[in-house]
């Protein structure tokens, strides 16, 4: 058992943190968010230069052979500054589907472009009725000659508005809730029949509603009728990355709060001298450390068999959700009015934490999922 980072990992972490310290101050972030496309293309180029975008891909495919630990480090650092770029969509979600589901030809075609920052990906999975179910899919894929034609509606697609490529789940067979009959299809974002309505989400990330009308897929990932296991694996990887991102955000928010407690004065003393706020800062620290432990646990469990992996990631999501709520709400409360003003960073961190909880199922959803698996044997 060993919690140490390798020299390369430490270097990656410090290089990324230095880059973000130089270019991702709170005011800069506000500017990135305000101008189209709602994040920074310049930063995206810098991530590519740093090797972030090709990191988890195999060297044979044009990547850098990083593993779950590298992804965790990147996510945490991006979380510290509330980065807006489509890293999760492109590298973790889209990239994960490619890594685990794409054939060699497809990977070798796509990965170099991703690594170079030239291809943006988005995962069009959810539908208006699906909530957090990965198998509640009504979008259909119909064979048409060599290819597939897709029909349906995808909802709250993270960074779906600017993606060059969409990875779309669609049903080739079976009824609406069946686990079988689901395929993952690769489409060009601007393919005929793809209608995209982009918007800014509550946390400043971009989302899109996507309507597919006889849209033609370029490729299918894995088995056309057996894609759910692939989707589940990649969603678990994304939840692990989100957990690490949340830890970064919580850690920054906790630090911000301590700073405020030490500088803000009331009744003639720094408010951090009030015992009630001291103890609350301690409870935040406990919540942060519990979350950090679970983000590591997530990273460690990604290569376990599916049942164990899924249970572990649900547990992680529960803890992250709980910690994020406590830290987010208490940070805002201790900041007082400025905690809910857009001019200050704390409220943005609070919102991002709330959004992370909701993404791929909130704490309660995963608690119910875990509870369903409890053995009832006496």
């Amino acid at each position: 058992m060993d919690f140490d980072l390798t020299e390369e990992q430490r270097l990656l972490q410090s290089n990324l943190r230095r880059l973000l310290a130089d270019h991702y101050g709170f005011n800069r972030r506000a500017n990135y968010q305000a101008e189209a496309p709602g994040w920074s293309r310049a930063m995206w180029g810098r991530y590519a230069e740093l090797g972030l975008l090709g990191l988890p891909f195999a060297e044979a495919d044009g990547g850098f052979g990083g593993g779950p630990v590298e992804t965790m480090l990147v996510a945490e650092a991006l979380g510290e500054v509330l980065a807006l770029e489509p890293w999760l969509s492109t590298v973790v979600l889209g990239g994960g589907l490619l890594r685990h589901g794409g054939d060699a030809a497809l990977r070798q075609r796509m990965v170099p472009a991703i690594a170079a920052g030239e291809a943006l990906l988005a995962f069009a999975q959810a539908e208006p009725q699906s909530r957090y179910s990965l198998s509640d899919i009504t979008t259909t894929a119909r064979r048409d000659g060599d290819g597939w034609v897709l029909e349906g509606r995808k909802s709250v697609v993270l960074h779906g508005d600017t993606a060059d490529w969409l990875l779309v789940t669609a049903r080739c067979a079976g009824a609406r809730h069946d686990r079988g009959g689901i395929g993952v299809f690769l489409l060009r974002g601007d393919a005929p029949g793809v209608l995209r309505q982009g918007y800014s989400m509550v946390d400043g990330q971009r989302g899109a509603e996507i309507t597919l009308s006889a849209a033609r897929a370029e490729a299918v990932l894995g088995e056309a009728e057996d894609g759910l296991a692939l989707v589940e694996r990649v969603v678990d990887e994304a939840m692990a990355a989100l957990a690490a991102e949340a830890v970064g955000t919580m850690s920054a928010l906790h630090a911000m709060t301590l700073d405020y407690l030490k500088t803000r004065k009331q009744f003639g003393a720094p408010i951090g001298s009030f015992q009630v706020l001291q103890h609350r800062a301690s409870d935040m620290m406990v919540a942060l450390e519990q979350a950090r432990s679970m983000a590591m646990y997530a990273t460690m469990m990604l290569d376990e068999p599916a049942a164990a992996r899924r249970a572990a990631l649900s547990a992680v999501k529960v803890q992250i959700g709980r910690s994020a709520r406590l830290i987010g709400q208490q940070a805002v409360q201790m900041h007082g009015g400025i905690g809910i003003a857009t001019e200050y960073a704390a409220g943005h961190a609070f919102k991002r934490l709330a959004a992370i909880d909701t993404t791929f199922g909130d704490a309660d959803h995963h608690l119910r999922a875990l509870a369903a698996e409890v053995s009832t044997a006496a």
């Binding site: 709250v156 918007y199 009630v276 009015g337 003003a341 919102k351």
Partner: protein, 402 residues
Amino acid sequence: MDLRFTAEERAFRAEVRDFIEANLPPETRQRMIEGRVPTKAQTVAWQRILNARGWAVPDWPEEHGGTGWTAVQRYIFREELQQTPAPQPLGFNTNMIGPIIIAYGTEAQKQHFLPRIRNIDDWWCQGFSEPGAGSDLASLKTRAVRDGDHYVVDGQKTWTTYAQHADWIFCLVRTNPQAVKRQEGISFLLIDMRSPGITVRPIITIDGGHEVNEVFFDNVRVPVSNLVGEENRGWDCAKLLLGHERTGAARVGVSKERLRRLKFMAGEATENGRPLIEQQRIREKIVGIEVELKALEMTVLRVLAGGRRAGESRQADPASSILKLRGSEIAQSITELMMEVAGPYGLAAPGDADAEGSNAPELMPDWARSAAPLYFNWRKLSIFGGTNEIQRQIMAKAFMGL
């Protein structure tokens, strides 16, 4: 002890409800059901309807337009407004500056301002908080220096709700910086928002809404006739507001209406093709809040009955703190649950709950739109109006002797 409403009180409730149903513009109601703040025009229009009916300022003395209702009737009236939902009377006008002018104003001030306050001919805002003086109000720094028959005001107020709508602002200003106790040396001024030297700067909150502002005073000249009460005794006026509205902070009617909305949302949202409201866990969470709200409602009724017995004390009492604490916690827990019910669509909600031109696609269900903005916005409930920490401190010090 009989804890039921009397037949007269029930009849009164029906009368109020019928009047609201018949007279509230449907678009105002719909906007509020969706969790959005009514527009200025909607608030003013409704207040004028109430004023025409003689119900604009139930809490005021009858000679100034009050209704002469009992405390229970006034509670019923407010609860019916909240439950409909309808805009409540603008608190800065009817609960704050009105009662202060009635208590401390000159005859001329009363004659001029009170009718306009009642009808929102003037929209008022409150200039108390300052950047360095939040919970510690008495440390305020905005100065007013006498110059002939004017005061010259310099300084800054913040968290000023609806300053962008306001015609007038009532302010606490420091007139004697040498006073030994910080509460002394503060005066209470009425300031025309159109005065030269006033700048209003919006503070956009994390829900995207514009409710609060910074207000800057740069050499603003205010006629001495706009002083309320004695110079350097403005703290007395401010204290009047403490515990004035003891049961309002509980927001029972508002929370009842929001719970109704929450159940509606949980009926619309589905999982695996079934409405969420069918899930035991969601139901338990809703019911858990309903229990807390019922207890709070009974506590409010006890306070009302006690107040009637004890006379209408204007002192702070533990009840105000209890009601503020529980009222805000319950309201916040409802918004948390709304966010949970909205699910993925909660993330896609428009950034600005009040923006007429929302960026949210029309494809998105209406019921999910306001969940996240309301959750974010209502964090203010445990911060503004005396933080919940301050309420606990008041209880411990003043009522338990700790």
